[in-house]
């Protein structure tokens, strides 16, 4: 315990910066997932699953804010939620284009962005986990071990959806 406190207060350690960065990128990922969900309401599985797994990022934001307190950070535990005023408008817009095939190209682009964002978040967790190990901060390491697998699942989801839909979107116009 004493050693951990000692390491935490080491002059020049960048844990705070890493936590802040991850807190920001998880927040962005939650928002991106909710955006994809609203944007593709006519693709029902995208709509619901993106919402379900946005919740993981929201929970990660809360955990990061909690552990950030140990490092003297004041991070907002509340991630962006789905009650944005624009959501119903976006959902309505996508319902109007449901009869057209072309908008599905946007789906590929949006999934590509989710995959890229989630990959970034995943690397951020990697950095934080390594740091936690070096600093022997079991609490922080525990958070990394619980959250990071869900980031990987978000990434695999985006990859799988691209794989599943690409052929129909690209070949059958």
């Amino acid at each position: 315990m004493r050693a951990r406190q000692l390491l935490r207060s080491l002059h020049g350690n960048k844990v705070g910066a890493a936590l802040e960065e991850l807190h920001r990128s998880e927040n962005d990922l939650a928002a991106a997932l909710l955006h994809v969900s609203d944007q593709h309401k006519v693709d029902h599985e995208i709509f619901y699953v993106a919402r379900d797994i946005a919740r993981w990022s929201q929970e990660h934001v809360r955990r990061l804010a909690e552990v950030g307190g140990d490092y003297g950070l004041d991070l907002d535990p509340d991630a962006e939620d789905d009650a944005t005023p624009l959501a119903p408008i976006k959902q309505k817009g996508t319902e109007l284009t449901g009869r057209f095939h072309e908008p599905t190209l946007l789906l590929l682009a949006d999934l590509r962005r989710i995959h890229r964002d989630a990959a970034g978040v995943s690397l951020d967790w990697e950095v934080l986990a390594q740091t936690a190990q070096a600093m022997q901060d079991r609490e922080l390491l525990g958070v990394c071990q619980e959250c990071h697998p869900e980031t990987l699942r978000q990434m695999r989801w985006a990859n799988a959806k691209v794989k599943e839909t690409a052929a129909q979107i690209m070949v059958t116009g």
Partner: protein, 702 residues
């Protein structure tokens, strides 16, 4: 037929094979599914083939794949005769599998009756016979199962040796269950904690445990995850592969098992793995085509996605056999819009002019069982031969004959230029199928029409090793889940993403049973101020599917003549409703009006039977300007990400009285819709339903 084949050829030439889709059923014969799968996957080269089994049995298959790497039923009907404990999860067997239920009634009335545990939000005949009846809030099955599993683990009611020798994933499961206390589940599911503990104790004390699962799990939120936890109970207790110890992940239709086996439902024939190139090469060898001719860049497209592709216009030819999506699919207003598009060429092959057939460009009249020959396999792998007894009426032809005609007109060829479909009769098709199954889990190589004649059915695998079939599979922990052999590497049960082959190989290199843990997620549509009830849909004893046949049987029609809605006595009192009141039930998708039956259903939940469509109304295929009567006017387009089975049992709804009672509702009194008052006349068949059967003494043993 020329229009059907001609439009197929045109579209394939103009827009590619992925502009063509097939939507079949769980009610044809094995030979017909296999031929359809061959034509679609191997001949035309489309990935868009599925059955209405997606609505009834997809989760059964998905749950078996998650736990055992492969479809195939671990249990046998004979387990009912041996079990000391039978758990029915979301399975109103008394109405869905009546003959099987009489087998349980026999046990209950005999010496050493088994104890029953029932999970169902309605007071069904099963619930009334159960020692413990858990009636959870719709959409909370995973929470319930996790709490039961945690109790079982906490009390050490597990088979440590079995776990050690035959399973992977126990550490992850134990970790997941940490947070799932009985108290938490009691709160979330709205079930007394003492009942949860008692159910866990009964399951934990069982020495021969049989579990059956059906639509209460399969058509609800987190379908696969919940069904998999039932498998987990059996795996941790080591209760598989011996008499009385079985799982029956049930099917909803007579030949649903064949749809799954034969590759007509989003799987490839004989449980081949679409993401294993060796399996594709092997299938191409059987069909004598190039492996590239079999689309396998992703899993075969599921029905809900096929409809989405029809909606966005990328599928323009849909060939529907023996099913009625215009009534059975969720969100019917959307479904009617999809199916009535001008740009869609819709073919419907059926025995009656169903609602869907009324929307078709071409209707092909088909024969039904008794008018054609073929085999079918039931849920416990028993293969039967069903022989033709009478000629089909009018221009109707056997589905197989129509499909063979279609293949001939498309002039489908193998890689040597010979006809792709090499059979002309059902028996030849069966022989072709037999070869296709060689070495696969559902091995039919020991079966033939001759062998199936005369007896009462044979359980696969039937081959050199098991010449008379096999009552149980997974005997002594011998699974089909080896990475080279398995049908599926599984999916993430929340996201639906397929597990990558390399990942599976490192998880389960030796082909053991997989304990797959699942976190509980809240349902996607929760009750609100505007929509305060939870709506579930389901079957009644007297009707099947969309009443295409049962609505034409006078006694059945009289027993359940019109749609009704069920609510609890507490809700009726609170709302000031009485038995027989006309209610309008509303969701954001539509309205249905129905007479109220005050039944033993859980408070806060409404139930609508899903059978009633419009073929026997003036409008024919849709509501006639007023409220609908099809439950699916109200249901949500949402499905389980792993099994892709639509969720019919977790919608938020409102209900208001729009007319006073003119007597009790006409819902049956003999079933789950039994009224809470005794003032409703009992349902009875009447004189025309009476049958007399005499057994002549033939000198045989029985």
């Amino acid at each position: 037929m020329e229009a059907v084949a001609g439009r197929t050829r045109e579209l394939v030439a103009e827009r590619g094979p992925s502009s063509v889709g097939f939507y079949t059923t769980g009610q044809l014969f094995l030979e017909e599914y296999y031929t359809l799968g061959l034509i679609a996957h191997g001949g035309i080269g489309t990935n868009h083939v599925d059955g209405n089994t997606r609505l009834c049995t997809a989760t059964a298959a998905a749950a078996l794949k998650e736990s055992f790497g492969c479809d195939g039923q671990p249990g046998s009907y004979t387990d009912i005769d041996h079990a000391d404990t039978i758990c029915l999860y979301g399975h109103n067997m008394a109405e869905t599998q009546t003959v099987l239920w009489t087998r349980i009634l026999d046990r209950l009335a005999g010496p050493n009756p088994p104890q029953l545990v029932c999970v169902d939000p309605r007071l069904t005949p099963v619930a009334e016979a159960a020692r413990v009846h858990l009636a959870p809030r719709p959409g909370t099955n995973v929470m319930l199962m996790n709490a039961l599993l945690r109790e079982i683990l906490d009390h050490g009611w597990v088979d440590r040796d079995y776990l050690e020798a035959h399973t992977v994933g126990f550490a992850e499961l134990s970790k997941m269950l940490d947070g799932y206390t009985v108290e938490r589940a009691a709160e979330v599911c709205g079930v007394p904690p003492s009942d949860l503990r008692e159910a866990a104790r009964i399951i934990g004390a069982a020495e021969r445990l049989l579990s059956t699962v059906l639509q209460g799990f399969y058509q609800s939120h987190q379908a696969t995850a919940a069904a998999v936890q039932v498998n987990n109970v059996h795996i941790v207790r080591g209760m598989l592969g011996k008499a009385g110890c079985g799982i029956l992940q049930m099917n909803g239709q007579p030949t649903a098992q064949n749809t799954r086996e034969c590759g007509a439902d989003g799987d490839l024939p004989a449980f081949r793995n679409w993401s294993n190139d060796a399996h594709i090469a092997d299938l191409a060898r059987v069909w004598n085509i190039d492996p590239m001719d079999i689309p396998h860049y992703t899993s075969p497209t599921h029905a809900m996605q096929i409809m989405r592709y029809v909606e966005d216009g990328s599928i323009r030819f849909l060939y529907v056999t023996a099913t009625n999506p215009a009534v059975s699919m969720p969100e019917l207003r959307r479904m009617r819009e999809i199916l009535s598009q001008d740009r869609l060429f819709l073919v419907v092959q059926d025995i009656f002019l169903s609602e869907t057939a009324q929307l078709a460009d071409v209707v092909l009249p088909a024969a039904t069982w008794g008018e054609k020959t073929g085999t079918f396999t039931n849920v416990d792998r028993t293969v039967h031969l069903s022989e033709k007894a009478v000629e089909p009426p009018g221009e109707a032809r056997a589905d197989l004959e129509i499909l063979l005609d279609y293949a001939r007109r498309l002039d489908l060829r193998d890689k040597d230029g010979a006809p792709l479909v090499k059979w002309r009769t059902a028996e030849e098709a069966f022989d072709g199928w037999r070869e296709c199954t060689r070495g696969r889990p559902c091995d039919y190589t020991g079966l033939s029409y001759d062998k199936l004649r005369g007896g009462s059915g044979i359980q696969w695998p039937c081959n050199d090793e098991h010449p008379d079939g096999a009552e149980h599979i997974y005997v002594a922990g011998d699974f089909w889940s080896h990475p080279d052999h398995c049908e599926s590497y599984g999916r993430d049960m929340v996201t639906g993403a397929p597990v990558e082959p390399s990942e599976y190989r490192s998880l389960n290199p030796d082909g053991k049973a997989i304990l797959k843990a699942a976190e509980y997620l809240p349902p996607h549509e929760m009750p609100s101020e505007e929509f305060p009830f939870q709506l579930i849909t389901g079957r009644t004893l007297y009707h099947f599917h969309t009443r295409t046949k049962t609505g034409r049987a006078p006694q059945l029609q009289a027993a359940a003549p019109e749609v009704w809605v069920e609510a609890s006595a507490a809700d009726a009192e609170e709302q000031g409703w009485t038995e027989g009141d006309l209610l309008r039930v509303t969701t954001p998708r539509g309205e249905v009006s129905a007479r109220l039956r005050v039944s033993g259903i859980r408070q806060g939940v409404l139930f609508l039977p899903f059978h009633y469509g419009y073929w026997d109304t003036d409008a024919g295929h849709r509501p006639d300007g007023s409220d609908g009567r099809a439950a699916n006017e109200l249901t949500l387009t949402d499905w389980d990400p792993a099994s892709k089975q639509p969720i019919f049992k977790t919608a938020a709804a409102a209900a208001h009285r729009i007319g006073a009672a003119e007597g009790p509702s006409l819902a049956p009194t003999t079933t789950g819709s039994r009224p809470v008052t005794t003032e409703v006349p009992a349902t009875s068949g009447g004189p025309t339903a009476l049958a007399e059967e005499r057994f002549e003494n033939t000198g045989a043993a029985r």
